[in-house]
């Protein structure tokens, strides 16, 4: 990573989702180290939750981006939110959302996370072919 900083958010999801997205953020912005990617291959729900808690403790990050609303990482993150009032979860994260967050270092984490979620939603469009 070219711009070493303390990660401000955890990215977690299925397969290589987290590493892939963070790698893409790095390629595009050089700010990949805004994020701490977490992969959770074939772990139990309790182990995934412990893994995420450990990542949060290690980095101090209180924002979690996950892939699927029903995914195991999201379920684990939702358990963490209970009793962690300063934590924020953004599920259904995509590259535009992470890039937006990466450039929002001046904003508090929750504010930046909400803005990133709005940006990620707005970035999904469909285009039709023309004759």
């Amino acid at each position: 990573m070219s711009n070493p900083t303390t990660p401000r958010a955890i990215v977690a999801g299925h397969g290589g989702f987290a590493a892939g997205l963070v790698s893409a953020v790095e390629v595009i912005t050089g700010r990949g180290d805004t994020f701490y990617p977490v992969a959770v291959p074939d772990l139990s729900a309790a182990d995934i939750e412990a893994f995420l808690r450990e990542a949060m403790d290690r980095t101090g990050a209180r924002v979690i981006f996950t892939d699927l609303h029903a995914g195991s990482c999201t379920m684990a993150a939702r358990r963490i939110l209970r009793g962690t009032p300063d934590a924020v979860l953004v599920s259904g994260a995509n590259l535009p959302a992470l890039i937006d967050f990466a450039f929002a270092e001046a904003k508090p984490g929750p504010t930046a996370a909400r803005h990133a979620a709005d940006r990620g939603r707005a970035a999904i469009i469909t285009l039709e072919g023309t004759p």
């Binding site: 074939d42 729900a45 609303h69 029903a70 195991s72 379920m75 939702r78 209970r82």
Partner: protein, 162 residues
């Protein structure tokens, strides 16, 4: 339709269940049989929020859930029955005419042997699976629909290298 899948999965409702099996089977409801979840408002809400709006979730403790199975079998919609443990499924299978059990995900624990990437089993769980099979129930391991089902005997003699 009826209950089209009886699955053991210690993650209960998650991506593989909702999005992996749900669309191919046309699943419209999930019956989640788990004592801890059935008795906790917070746990029930957690799982209810994890499914799409057009999918319903029903919660039952293991004890007494057998009677409800008949009702779900008579449902016109396709559904999935989920338990979080082998023991819960073993108790459900007793006298309930469950034709097949899908071992979908049982993960690492200190007393478990890794059998497949997604199936770790303790000696007691292996015995319970044998007891389920001895009742004429087809027991296979399969995490997602596109994977090949692994028969019980193959599962119990497999060893996954970590």
């Amino acid at each position: 339709m009826t209950l089209v899948l009886h699955r053991i999965d210690d993650r209960l409702i998650h991506g593989q269940v909702v999005l992996g099996w749900g669309p191919p089977l046309g699943v419209e409801f999930i019956v989640l049989v788990d004592d801890a979840v059935a008795t906790s408002d917070w746990e029930r809400e957690l799982y209810e929020m994890a499914v799409p709006p057009d999918m319903e979730v029903y919660f039952h403790p293991v004890e007494g859930s057998a009677a409800a199975l008949a009702q779900y079998r008579a449902d016109e919609r396709p559904g999935i029955l989920l338990t979080g443990s082998v023991e819960s499924m073993r108790r459900l299978v007793e006298g309930n005419g469950i034709p097949a059990v899908n071992v979908g995900g049982i993960h690492h624990r200190a007393d478990r042997t890794p059998r497949l990437r997604y199936v770790f089993l303790s000696p007691a769980e292996e015995q319970a699976l044998r007891e389920i099979a001895a009742r004429g129930v087809e027991v296979t391991a399969q995490d997602v629909p596109s994977a090949h089902p692994v028969p019980l005997e193959t599962l119990l003699t497999s060893r996954h290298e970590l």
